[in-house]
Structures are given as C-alpha cells and as structure tokens.
C-alpha cells in the first residue's frame, strides 16, 4: 500500500537531489535542471497532499508552479545565452566578476 508518506518521501528525496545538484554542479544548464527537479518535487508533494487533504488547492497550485517554471526557464535560458555570447562559457566558475 502506497501511502501519502511514500510520496512525500520520494519528493523529499527528489528535492534533496535537486538541492545537492545545485550545490555541486558547475554547468549552468545542469544547475537549472536541478532547480527544475526541485520544483517538480514540490509539485509532486502538492499533488500527493492534495489527494491526502482532499481538496483541489494543491493541484491548482501545481499549475501555477508549472507556468512559473516555464517562464523562469525562458528568462533563465535567455540570460545564459547572453552570458555565453560574452564569455563563451556557461560554467558557473566563470561567474566571477562580481565578488567580495
């Protein structure tokens, strides 16, 4: 029997994986993907909880999250392209002009 806890655990693991990825990866695209993993793990949580709680709010929320994620993706990729044009790299180690 798969309970809500299983879903929650799974999404937590996914979330953790995403977080870990953000912390460890250097490629901007990969980092972005990791963030997407995080967001989607949240979506999973919402849906599971929506089912558990018994109302639709969670599912509605997921739609918003997905929309927003799409918008973010558009903006984020655009920014990355702009950066790539100037620096020929999207390695986060090259984000090093602004510091201290």
């Amino acid at each position: 029997m798969i309970t809500v806890n299983h879903y929650l655990l799974l999404s937590a693991i996914l979330f953790a994986i995403g977080t870990f990825g953000v912390l460890t990866r250097k490629n901007a695209i990969v980092i972005f993907m990791c963030i997407e993993v995080m967001l989607n793990s949240v979506n999973l949580t919402f849906i599971a909880l929506s089912r558990h709680v018994g109302n639709m709010d969670g599912q509605i929320f997921v739609f918003f999250v997905m929309t927003v994620a799409a918008a973010e993706a558009a903006v984020g990729l655009a920014l990355m392209i702009a950066f790539f044009r100037n620096k020929d790299s999207i390695d986060t180690d090259d984000f090093n002009m602004l510091k201290w």
Binding site: L8, F15, G18, T19, V22, A28, I31, F32, I35, M38, L39, S41, V42, T45, F46, L49, S50, H52, V53, G54, N55, D57, G58, I60, F61, F64, V65, V68, A71, E72, V75, G76, A78, L79, M80, A82, F83, R85, N86, K87, T92, F95, M97, L98, K99
Partner: protein, 486 residues
Amino acid sequence: MENLVQEAIQNVNFQAIMPSLVLCVFGMVILMVSVFSKRGSTTHVAWLSIVALVVTGFVALTGWNNPQAGFAGSVLFDNFATFFSMICIIAAALTILMSDDYLKREGYPVSEYYSLILFTTAGAMWMASGTDLMTIFLGLEVLSVSLYVLAGFFRNQVRSNEAGLKYFFLGAFSTGFLLYGVALLYGVTGTTKLEGIAAYVRANPESAMNTMFIAGGALLLIGFLFKVAAAPFHMWTPDVYQGAPTPITAFMSAGPKAAAFAALMRVSIVGLDGLQSELTSMFWILAVLTMTVGNFIALSQKDLKRMLAYSSISHAGYAMVGLVAWNEIGHSAILFYMLVYTFMNMGAFAVLVLIGKKGENNLTLEGIAGLGYKKPVLGIVLTIFLFSLMGLPPTAGFTAKFYIFAGAIEAGYIWLAVLGVLNSAVSLYYYLRVMVQMYFKDPEEDFAWVSINPPVAISIVISVVGVLYLGIFPNSLMNLAKLAGF
C-alpha cells in the same frame, strides 16, 4: 457547476486588483507602443509609464480605509496593501525618472525596460495584497522574473549578465524552498489561505504544531527572507546590486524589498501567528546577523554600488527589528521604514546615476573625490541622503530608526536595540568615508560630464523633500503607517 461559477463571479472583485490590473494593461500598451516607435527613442515611453504609475497611484489610494477583498479571499487590498503599493509605485516612478538618460548613456534605449518595471511593480502589489499563498507566490514570481531580466538587462555587459544569472539561479533556488514550505503548510492545514492556516492552528493548537508545520513555515519565510536580503540569504545582493543597471539596483533595494517585507509581514503575522515565539527568536538572531554582516562588510568596500548594497542588507536588518518586536509599533515602523528607505536610498542612487560615466567604472570612493566642490548641489543632496542612511536627525532616516527601535524597546528587546544602535555606529564609518571623499579630498576630476537633466533632478528633489519632510515633520506619515499596520 452553475453554482460554483456563480459563486466565483460573486467572489471576484476586480476592485481588489484594480491597481495591478491598470499597471499590467499599461505595461502591455507600452510594449505595443514600443513596437511602433522609432528605435532608440524611449522618452515618450518613459513618460507614459510615469502616467501609468500616477494613475495606478490614484487607483490604489481608493483602497485606503476601504478594504477590498476578492477572489474568494485570495486578495485583500487594505490599508496595508495600499501603503506598500504606494511605496512600490514611488520607487518605480523614481526609477523611471532616473532611467531615461541613463539608458541612453549606456546604449540600451529599449522600451521593454519600462514595461518590465511596471510588471515588477504589479507583482509587488500582488505580494502586498495577497492573502493566499498562491497569490503571494504569483506576485513574487511576476516580480522576480521581471527583475531577473532587468538585472541582466545590459546583455552585452558581462557584469550585468552575471548579475542577472546569479539573481536568477539563487532566486529560483529560493523559490524551491518557498514552494516546499507552502506544500508542507498545505499538507498540515489543507489550505493555502493565510486566514485558513491561522484558523486551523487556532482550532487545533496541539496537533498543528508539528514538525511539518514548523518546517513548512520556516521554509516559506526563507523565501521572503531571500528577497529582503536577510543574512545568510543575502549573498546574492552585493553581486546583483553591483552588476545590475544602477536604476534597477535602486529599484530592487526599495520596491521589491518593500514588497517582500509586506509578504513576510502578512505571512508571519496573519498566517503564522501561532509560531510567534519561535519566529521572534529567529528574527532576533537574523536581524542582528543581517545588520552586522551588512555593516561590517560595507566597511571595506570601495565600489559605491556594492557598498550601498551592503548598506541595504544592514537596513533590512534594522527593518527586521520591527518584526522581532511583533507589536503594533514595530509593524507600523516597518512600513514607515520602508517608505523612508525608498526615498533615501533611491535618492543616493539617483546621484550615482548622474555622476557615473559610461560603464560606471568611476563609481568608486576615489572616483567621487572632491565632488562636493565641483558639483556642490549634488554633493549636498548626497550628503543629506547619507546622513539619512546613517540615521541622523533631522533626516527621515533618524525618525524611521527611532520608530523601529521604539517598537523593539516597547516590546522589551533592549539588547536588540543596543546592538542595533551599535551597528549604526559602525555604519557611520563607511557613510562618512563617502563624505570624506566628497569634501575632504581635493577634486581630481572636473565632473564636466555630469549634466543634470530634469527627470533625474525631479527624482532627486522628490527624494530630498521626502527625506527632510519625513525627518522633520514625520507626524502625518507615521500616523498613516500606524493605520496601515496590523
């Protein structure tokens, strides 16, 4: 099904989102106008956005003492929202006033810039008026996404790109935490409405206080703390502020920050009322940490924008003191503080906008040596803003700080107040250093490139008047802040 639609339509109250609607419409109009405009001519668009903001301002003011709820309780445009909306509108207007010439100087005269600012403002107003985590989240994202673009707006400038990217990644990252927090809260309480969450906690005081609820609350707030640049979620601030176009930096430090505070306040006070004791102790530590980190690091900064970024971090720390106090005075104080901060910080940035050369590599401490002699008026106004940032009478910075610390002391947080004022003492040093350069050093350059154009002048005048008026006669707005507070 019929019933549902009926109910929904009844619940819909466009009055409640009218200000943001107006802004969005104007934003889209501007996009359209820009399509038909000559390339590179943006002045009319800028003035059009000013018109938009003025109209919005009037619309928003109708909400004063006339709270409008709508969308099944997801939006509440009350005094609180009005006050914050006005702050955001003022910030946006000041930003636009200082932008036109700046964009031309830097070679990006693009109309989308203005519509993005309008969208950001709209998002900020949603954040301030949202009473459902869903609307607040939407506002936050509208605001963020627009800001990501604005921060990276100078697409051929690596610095700007980097600022945009860093902001984007960290912003999205923090959104993940925020959402996870929302999800957890939803799981416990079954609702995303702030009132609903609070009601659930009131109904089940024992069972609601579980790990999931607390963790959810914490994660949620962290999302906003990221936006207000509270330590340790402040690290994006200096980089982004330094890299972003200067007017945008100014805007970010005022409007979106105020919106984030609005959300932070509404969420903690309305939604997470049950966690008061936990949250105040958390805010206590974070406030001290934030101001200390901001002030200490600012001491050794040479770049003015970066220095003001750290200063902005520390000011977020001061404002959080009002949250620690968790009393009426503290809450209204935050409102007042954000308003004052808008004036003084935007004013300071406006001066920087004026004195920067193309590329803004001269916005360093050495770069403004002798400014007070070559451009005395600019020198004086910058001095006034700096004194205000220090919190010295008779400027608004003082009254605002007084208000904040009054809240803390009334609530019995003496040590917090002491740490706060000691922190301001530390901060004196780096603000004074600017004045040292402006007045105590001989000019090395003639600042001939500085031309004071009317829009920027207007923004500076508004800021100066705001800073001095609120410093000397703060009565009226303090009272408004009191009425707008919780």
